[in-house]
Amino acid sequence: MATIAAAPPYTDVRPQAVDNSVWSWLTTVDHKRIGALYLVSALFFFIVGGLEAAVMRAQLMRPNGTVVSAEMFSQLFTMHGTTMVFLAIMPLSAAFFNFLIPLQIGARDVAFPRLNAFSYWVYVLGGLFISFPILFGLAPDGGWFGYAPLSTKAYSPQINMDFWVLGLQILGISSLAAAFNFITTVINMRAPGMSMMRMPIFTWMSFVVQFLVALAFPVITVALVFLQFDRFFGTNFYTIAKGADPLLWQHLFWVFGHPEVYILILPAFGLVSEVLPTFSRKPLFGYPVMVYSGILIGFLGFGVWAHHMFSVGMGPIADAVFSLTTMLIAIPTGVKIFNWIATLWGGQIRFTVAMKFGVALVGMFTMGGISGVMHSSPPADLQQTDTYFVVAHFHYVLFGGSMFGLFAGLYYYFPKFTGRFLSEKIGEWHFWLTLLGMNLTFFPMHFSGLLGMPRRVYQYDAGQGLELFNMMSTMGTLVLMFGTLFLVINLFKSWKGGEPASSNPWGAATLEWTIPSPPPDYNFAELPQVKSRYPLWNMKGGEKLVHETTYAEEKGRHIPTAKELGIVMPNPSIWPLVCAFGLIVMFSGLLFMDTKLMVAIATMLTGSAIWIGSLYKWLLTPLEDHH
């Protein structure tokens, strides 16, 4: 047996004539198209968030910078954090959830295709809602964790924080709807034979993430409802004079906020766990342990929140407990690092750009992880909290971790998304500039932080030894911008003119590589029968045989349409978009609460009528035509 049993039957790269009208994109319920929408929107917001950071770095390049005012600087750091967390990294992960989960488990779509479209539209409209105000200098300015009582009317009387409170509430709806959808998809849409322990590791990590979303987001929803009520209806949840606890917000926020950290990193871990085995030509080392450690990270992630609050003085017992749980969570994370290294060990390594980003994640994330473990010790944390040392730490895990993993996934899966490769040559520039820029930006922050530079200050004085480190960080940001420019060029060039890719150009092992690139709308002509964890690798008797296809051998083969195969596809629907729009209108009404009460009520009623009406329309229309 030279290769696996048989070549995939439908293999061609150029799909049938596809409807690409704007209407078809507005009404799409296809998980692959929604994935593409997520990808483009999230990359847009990634660039917006990056530019916000660039302005901050320009301000901090020299002591007593005067590029922006203190007020603008507050808006910039608030929006940089909010944008990167909620509008860039989470949706970039969502792009991969959408595109990959159904393909990896052998499904035709997600469990609820229209709900999936709804999640996207709520996200993108909510993202615009929260981002637009910065153009008018009205953006939220209370930091990305919006500590109350600082964010209440008494201390933030302007409209700025209203956008933040309402915007996050809107984005939460999107994430929750997606979580219910993907949990159901993974539980119930797996192809025959795709048992839980045969699922690709990316799907596993995404599955864990959906539980974190489903259980953590309601907590911030409640915290935001209290803040919303305090701001708009005069309740007392965060009014200290009325007996409120100044730590209530911090507890609720971080009960959400710490699982959120794993919501950001686990999808990237999953992607890297796909990339490393393929480019090492070895199965992932310790697959079950990788699964269990992912679950354990998710579980422990709910028990460490107060390590964000050591400086508030919770007392020795609380400090000790949260310090221990924090150290504990380093164990499953460390297990993952070692398993990746063991995966690489003795493999036939090919250093593609995807692989480089993957390997860089292992290194960079480890550095961020080590500075993270330092914070688990309360006495050390008291020195580091609210300084640039913390900024350095979480950029190593979020940029060096999450973003590197997502970049690895982007280079690896772009051929599957589009049928065309990203250029390796331009990708090299992107990778090396990003790696260099990232370290040049964030490594010096360890030092400026330990020298005592607080985060979120808009100016610092000369003569404190901070000049060199800040100059280095700003130069690093410049390098990062050039790196990102190469990514943008690469995406544009390859979208239309990239080298065409075959169905399995990397010689990968999982189900998504058995179907054409890009996949036809129905994904699988027949539901696959899964018999192992690596359906495309034959590993019997220690012999590794990989079915790698080339474009030349697949070119020109006919890919049947869904109609020819007799597959009933879900009908497109505009109602998820209208419903999402109605929700945004309803929430916007609250913005006028103080100034024009009647306008506020009218707007909210109109919005409610729109979303409830379209929800009924959507639910009472069957997904598919009768067959």
Binding site: A6, F180, I183, I187, R190, P192, P528, W537
Partner: protein
């Protein structure tokens, strides 16, 4: 690792390799043989547990922290005016409304059973009454509305006695918690009326049992949450 084959190669029909049961959710293959909507409602309920857990925890954390009344279980004299406020919670009325809500869950169970057994012949009057999905859906709705009526009475009488959502910490956390629960009951009533409308239009058939079932799961969940609220807010001093 086991030997593998390319999964999409033609295996004839897709039914012969029964690793998982081959069953239906709207005519589609599902791994568990369950309707996906049923799994989704359970994940939704799991998420809602965290929502109410956060609301209830906040209420409990803030219990007794408010420097000024009125209070739920204690008398309070306003030091400025000398006005005396009795303990504000009206346990007898709320006990009655709790009973009403519990009975609505019973009606909901009977409504679902009636839809599932639509085609079972009914002879006696008792069988006909038990087999009427319209009757039991109406019953559930009316009991739900009865509960909401009690809540409306409770809220207005509190406001008359001088406790609003703005008055103190107790008012804020009490009205928000019970108001959220009331909003959930309201959504449930609207949901049930929608099912009733379908029942009048074309009759709910045993094939429709899933849509009644998920509404029922939601309804029972809201009911269970109320038992927690009633115990923690009203009964425990």
């Amino acid at each position: 690792m086991t030997a593998t084959t390319a999964p999409t190669t033609a295996h004839g029909d897709g039914h012969s390799h029964g690793d998982a049961p081959h069953a239906h959710g709207g005519g589609h293959y599902t791994s568990l043989g369950l309707d996906s909507r049923k799994i989704a409602i359970w994940t939704f309920i799991g998420s809602e547990c965290m929502l109410f857990a956060s609301l209830i925890s906040t209420y409990l954390i803030y219990k007794g922290r408010s420097p000024e009344g009125p209070f739920p279980h204690e008398t309070w004299t306003n030091p400025m005016t000398g006005e005396v406020f009795k303990p504000i919670l009206n346990i007898p009325v709320t006990s009655a409304s709790t009973f009403v809500l519990l009975m609505s869950s019973l009606a909901m169970v009977l409504a679902l059973a009636a839809v599932q057994n639509r085609h079972v012949p009914k002879v006696t009057t008792g069988q006909k009454i038990l087999g009427s999905s319209k009757l039991w859906l109406w019953m559930t709705c009316l009991l739900g509305i009865g509960f909401l009526g009690c809540q409306a009475y409770e809220f207005t009488s509190f406001i008359h006695e001088g406790l609003t959502i703005r008055t103190n910490l107790f008012g804020s956390s009490f009205f928000t918690l019970t108001g959220f629960h009331g909003a959930h009951v309201t959504a449930g009533v609207i949901w049930l009326f929608t099912l009733l409308a379908i029942d009048y239009k074309r009759g709910l058939q045993p094939e429709d049992a899933t849509i009644v079932d998920i509404a029922a799961l939601y309804w029972h969940f809201v009911d269970v949450v109320w038992i927690a609220i009633f115990t923690l807010v009203y009964l425990i001093k």
